[in-house]
Each structure stands twice: as structure tokens, then as C-alpha cells.
Symmetry: C2
Subunit: 210 residues, 2 copies
Amino acid sequence: VRHLGCDARSIHRVQVPDDVAATLSFFMELDRLKSVERRNRLADGSRCENTAEHSWHLGMAALVFAGQATEPIDVGRCVAMALTHDIVEIDAGDTFAYDTGVDAASKEAREQAAADRLFGMLPAAVGAHLRELWDEYERGDTADARYVMAIDRMAPMLLNIAEGGTTWREHGITRARVIERNGPHVEPALPGVWQHALAGLEALPGSALD
Amino acid sequence: VRHLGCDARSIHRVQVPDDVAATLSFFMELDRLKSVERRNRLADGSRCENTAEHSWHLGMAALVFAGQATEPIDVGRCVAMALTHDIVEIDAGDTFAYDTGVDAASKEAREQAAADRLFGMLPAAVGAHLRELWDEYERGDTADARYVMAIDRMAPMLLNIAEGGTTWREHGITRARVIERNGPHVEPALPGVWQHALAGLEALPGSALD
């Protein structure tokens, strides 16, 4: 009976309205994102980051960097997009940013199926709203999506630099690849942040990155 | 030199504008919230929750439960408030919701000092904005603050129920105390959610909770 509290729909059919039960089921499902492990470590190197706390960090970043964005953005939408954009990893798992062995078509299919299932758990209107945010982020064709993507690239880069570059060393990622992968997203949206990240990257010791 | 990437202000005084450097320092400081451990466990019981991932879960909850709130709320403000309201724990630590041994005045003093320091790291306008959200949450005297507080009480209660009530048993928290502590916040703001949580609480096995 340990699962009783989770399965709102089947237990409380009478008392709890359908929308509440559906939203609660989605809320409980979200808890699993806290167990999806990313490759990068926390800034203090103590452990790897998980996707839920990463998403919180991005939401906060979307709030506090908004005044420095080069394009006009809707901050509230960007925060919601930052919180939502990695939820599909509950089903599809995290893909390392520098992984070249991943079949892009297969990754996209897994993530689309995950989005169908997860956002489909919600009442129609709110599910459609989150799905739109996720689709927009994936397309990357709006100022809001470009800003959130810049923050999503900036965050692990800054954590990796602060931590000393262990994850990059472990995976043989050179400075040139870090710049090639992140610069095109971070530099146009947050040029001052990019200057800082680049200086931090260059100051990292160790020839393994060259 | 491992800290080089963190200390934006001192290293990049020339290239990086002050506002960018200050915002980056705050962003890096936020990383520490991922290491603040709460008493409640994840729904699967695998480990205790940390405050950063808890804050993400609340931000998502603020988004998806908005349509069920009993008072008119500004969803964007509520999401920002949910993400921000526990940042003071970076300095002040987490206080267990049922801890009766805590000196309320001392806790408040520690949290006020934490808010001064942390929000004070940011450029003035954005720092003042986050501080206002935090102050409003602490006062709890607006519809937005009441809604976020309801979600903040709902979330650990649902996780504890899903997990089987271990944290409550460990600390000798009875059903009556759970209801007394959370009901006054959750029930008025999200009555359907409260019905569900109450049914889950009653279905939990074990006389230790009685």
C-alpha cells in the first residue's frame, strides 16, 4: 500500500475532481527528474548534478540575466521554458552535450514520445501550454528560446570551469570543442557572460584540454 | 587556481561589465542550494531531497496548479516566488517544518541576514525585485504568497505520503500534527489537492502516526 498516495486517479475517483487528480499525477511523476543524473558536477565537485536542480538553476538564471539579454524577451515565459525544457528526460534520459555517438533521429523520437506521454498526463489546456514551450525550445526559433538555450549552455560551462574541468578531461573535450559548441548560443544572447566564460576557460590549468 | 572561474568580479574587471560580473557571482553562489538537504525524502525513498530540486518542483507546481487556485494569482510572479523563497537557506540552512526546538526570532534574524547578503550580490534593480518576492512570501499576506505557501506545504506532504511516511515516523510526527500544520495553508488555496492529500494520509499504514 506504499503507493497509495501517488495514484490519485484510481483512489479518489469520487472526491477529487479529474483535473486535480491528473495534475497531481503529473506533479508526482515530475519527482523522477531529481534522479536523472547529468555528466557535469556541481561547482564544488562533490557530485554530479541532477536535471531537476539544473532546471531550477536555469529558471533563476532566466530571471536574473534578463536585463542583459540582447533581444527583447518575455521573462515569465523564459522561466517557465527553462523549468520545463528537460522534463522529457524523465523518460528519455540525459544526453551528454558532447556525445557524438548519439543517433539524433532516435534521440528526437524518444523525446517526442516522452513529451506526448508526460505533457499528456495534464489537463488539456495546461498540457498544451507546456508542450508549446517545449516545442518552441526544441525549434529554437524565437528570442525566448534562444535566450533559454544560451543559459542552458552557459550553466554547465560555468560549473565545469569552477570545478576545474574534470568532466571535460574525463571525456577528452578540448577547449576548442567547448567554444565551438557553446559560443554560437551564448555569445549572441549574453555577450558579457560569454566573455567571462571564455576567460575562465582559458585560465583553466591542464594541457588535457588543449 | 580552481576558483578562477567563480570570482568574476576580481578577475575580469576590465572586460566584463559590473552588472554581468555581479549577476554571475550570484549565479555561482546559487549552486550551493543544491547541497542544502531537507528532511523529507524523494517519493521513491532513495534519498533526502535538496532545496534546489524542491524549489524546481514548486516552480512547476505553481505553473500547473494555477488553474485550480481559489484566489486570482499572477502565475509568473508565483513561479518566481517559488524559485526564490528558499534561497536564504544557502546561508541559514533548512529548518524542519515540524521542529519545535527552533527559536523563531533567531531563525528570522539568520534568514534576514542571508537575504541581505545574497540578494545584495545582485545589481540593485534585480536584487530588489527578488527581495520583494522573498519579503512578500515571508509576510504571506497576498494571494500570490498564500498560493506559493500552499504548494510549499503540499509538496513535502505528498512526497512523504508516497514514500510511506518514514520522515514523519522518524520524528514522531502524528497525522494530527500533519493536518494541523498543513491544512490551514493548503485547504483554502487548493481544496481539491487537500482532499487528496488527506485521503493519502489516512491510507498510510502504521500506528506510529496516530
